[in-house]
Symmetry: C2
C-alpha cells in the first residue's frame, strides 16, 4: 500500500451512510461491487465488464474508494481493485449483503 500512485484510503468506520448510498445509487458502481464480490480474485481496472468509457470508470472507482468500499493498489503497471468486504461489513453490518442480494431480485 506504500505506493504514492494511489491516494490514501479512508477507514470505512469514518465513512457516512450518506456517502455510501451516494456511491451505491449509481448502477455502474453497484456493478463494480457486484463483480468484485462474485470474483475469486481482485480485478484490474481494465478487466471489468462496464458500459462506460475508461475515464468514466476511473471516476467510479474513485467514488467507491473514497466511500471505503474498495481498495486500489498496483501490481506492476496494472491498477488492481479489491472489495474491502470484511472491513466494510464490520462498520456496516449486513448492508453490502442486503444490497447485493437485492440486486438479484427480478424487477
Amino acid at each position: 500500500m506504500d505506493d504514492d500512485r494511489i491516494p490514501p484510503h479512508p477507514d470505512p468506520r469514518d465513512v457516512t451512510l450518506q456517502q455510501i448510498l451516494e456511491a451505491l445509487v449509481d448502477p455502474v458502481r453497484r456493478s463494480i461491487v457486484t463483480q468484485l464480490r462474485a470474483a475469486s480474485a481482485d480485478i484490474k481496472c481494465g478487466s471489468f465488464d462496464l458500459p462506460v468509457s475508461k475515464s468514466t470508470a476511473t471516476h467510479h472507482f474513485r467514488v467507491l474508494r473514497e466511500a471505503g468500499l474498495i481498495r486500489q493498489y498496483y501490481q506492476g503497471t496494472a491498477r488492481m481493485n479489491a472489495l474491502r468486504r470484511d472491513e466494510f461489513d464490520a462498520a456496516f453490518p449486513g448492508l453490502l449483503d442486503a444490497i447485493v442480494a437485492a440486486e438479484r431480485v427480478p424487477a
Copy 2:
C-alpha cells in the same frame, strides 16, 4: 384503502433496487423511514420532525410511497403514513434493517 384521495401503492416486489436507493439516498426521506420505524403507531404527515416545508415533505412522502416503502391512508382529514415493513422485508430481506442500523453508526 378504498379512498380515491390516495393514489395506488406498488407491490414492493415490483420496485427495483435502483428506485429504492434513489428514495433512500435522500437524508430527509431516510429520516421519515427511521421515525416510522421507531414509532409505535402510524404517523400523520404533519407530525414528523422534518427540516423542510410542508410541500417538500409531501414530495418526499410520494417518493417513499412510489418506492413501496410507506403506505398512506386517510384517518378523517389526516393523511397517515405507515412503514410497509413486513412487505418490504419480504421483497428485500435485510435491506431496511441494515440501512436503519447504519444510520446510527457515528460518523
